[in-house]
Subunit: 352 residues, 2 copies
């Protein structure tokens, strides 16, 4: 477990409950559901919207909003650098950020397998609270279902989010054009390898930690300064950088060329990839995003990202070209060129 | 399966795919996910928002909105009168309606167990399309995850929704006051008993069908006419009418009194309840809602609901009183009085 969270857990102990594990009754909608929500969820995540305990939250929103959803099914639910709760908050906040929007409100829906310990559930709730505070989002509505043992896997979480689109944002695949530079905000493949190491029981000199974090502030800073010179944001989660670049090439009807020497992977992760026979370009990320930007501002955007606490390893990996439309080509480290395809099949299930 | 849907299925046959079942690769985020989405989801549910294929949808919304979420884990996924897809659309549309809002946009997130047949998935998608058309909502963003066999149960669906709050709506537990009448929009317990009959293999003279439907139009009509005289809407799903009435009593700090003779249950459902030893007040509903309204307009609201095609069996079941705060009392058919508590434990898991 994440040491940060254990500290939080100590400072915010689980309330005394008359049950140690989640049972089917906690999903009944009746007295037990009410007990679970009152003693746990509502207290911890309390805000003016959630406190109304209605079927939904009533919000005041003006202008253009972004709306996104993701279900999180990661296994294991606790991993080095975080847990499923943190991922569920950051992931949806980041999907909104990729639309050029600042996440404001999240919904939170649990599908719990009967038998999950209250201690684990409490730990996840605490992490959700902390991650929401960090990203400055409020959890305003929710749902709790419980399924029988063997019909789920500990806990699945759906978060959906509403964000306000930045007034200067004009993020669209239609804006991507020849010459645009492609920036990656940090070292790639870290999250995927962190999960894979735990699952495969791999031992490295240091524990590889997931780099999950939220992009709310950095995206807002970039848009403040560069507005419509930012043509596209994408976060390369499942399928990795390679798949996102292929989607960009396909949907823009242009080509993408990248340089292998500019692909930044930390040594431990690179070592693990070699050991496992994986190409880091296909490994899932949670802590990095891709920006496709007007070439004239590319180095300035890069510098702006590098000011962000998780952005010091940002780099320009390539550009958009007219040649080879709908194809991604890599200049390899040893001088050749090869086509980079979309991820085929499943590299590692349940990475997020 | 629902005969309506089978007709739709015939008129909108499944596209030819090179796979018969959903595999882990369809949740990879890579090529297989793209194939599944392109050939199925995007074609079928196409609209200007979904077609952007971004991490989220960008929407223009003004003023007060409602935001709600629900995960659907019903078992079996196909049942008399509907399937999980229809429930997932109607359920979230109705949660928004209960906030006095007209649902406009839905997100759609699947957690699929490896091995689900494409045929079943296609059937569910078709139903979703149809239910969304009926409720006049657009599915604007989504997510697809696949978990290993034995780690899920065929398919779970989360929908989250955004609706615009009716300009005349003022729905809040704080508005509930002494003398308010409590209206139920139809015969209760039908959905729960429909599911239970299938699961228990019960045989009745006629098949009991789920009454799942959307409340978008009827709620809008009621608010057009009665505005702030409508104090509260709630849909008595899990936990049934008894649990919702208890929540109303608890949160308003007032009492609720209802008359057993006014509780409307269809004969087949009543027979099944007797057979199973169940009180219909605790059985889950999908096709009925509860309105708590100013007593002066109660009979007019009742008449308005009865004009709705699913409202002919609407009835006033009781009222809000100052006596016995936080308690629900029923005048029984044989003349006595008894306390009606919240559902304790789980009557039937996975009813929605």
């Amino acid at each position: 477990m994440n040491p940060k969270i254990n500290m939080l857990s100590a400072s915010c102990p689980m309330p005394k409950m008359d049950f140690d594990i989640i049972t089917l009754g906690h999903g009944s909608g009746g007295l037990l559901t009410n007990k679970l929500l009152e003693s746990g969820v509502f207290n911890l995540l309390s805000n003016e919207y959630l406190d109304q305990k209605h079927d939904g939250a009533m919000l005041n929103v003006d202008g253009k909003i972004a709306f996104s959803t993701d279900s999180y099914v990661i296994s294991p639910i606790f991993f080095p650098g975080g847990n499923i709760g943190e991922l569920a908050v950051n992931g949806t906040v980041n999907d909104l950020a990729m639309c050029g929007a600042k996440a404001k409100y999240l919904s939170l829906s649990f599908i719990i397998e009967e038998g999950l310990s209250m201690e684990e559930f409490w730990e996840i709730l605490l992490t959700i609270k902390l991650a929401a505070e960090r990203a400055k989002v409020q959890i305003v509505t929710g749902d709790t279902k419980v399924v029988e043992r063997g019909k789920g896997d500990k806990i699945f979480i759906n978060t959906s989010g509403i964000g306000t689109v930045h007034s200067r944002a004009d993020i669209s695949i239609r804006n991507v054009k020849k010459g645009d530079k492609i920036i990656v905000s940090g070292q790639i493949a870290t999250h995927g390898i962190a999960i894979m190491s735990v699952r495969e029981g791999l031992d490295f000199e240091t524990t590889i930690q997931s780099d999950t974090c939220h992009f709310n502030d950095v995206v807002s800073d970039i848009l403040d300064r560069f507005g419509s010179d930012i043509h596209l944001f994408r976060d390369p989660t499942r399928g990795g950088v390679a798949t996102v670049l292929n989607e960009i090439a396909r949907d823009s009807n242009l080509g993408v060329i990248i340089d292998q020497k500019n692909i930044n992977v930390c040594d431990d992760v690179e070592g693990a990839c070699e050991l496992l026979g994986l190409d880091p370009l296909y490994v899932a990320n949670e802590g990095v995003f891709i920006a496709v930007v007007n070439e004239e501002v590319a180095t300035d955007v890069l510098a702006e990202i590098q000011k962000w606490k998780n952005g010091k390893d940002a780099f320009i990996i390539g550009e958009v070209v007219e040649a080879h439309p709908r194809q991604v080509i890599i200049n390899s480290a040893i001088g050749g060129k090869r086509v980079v395809n979309m991820l085929l099949g499943e590299q590692l299930p349940r990475i997020c």
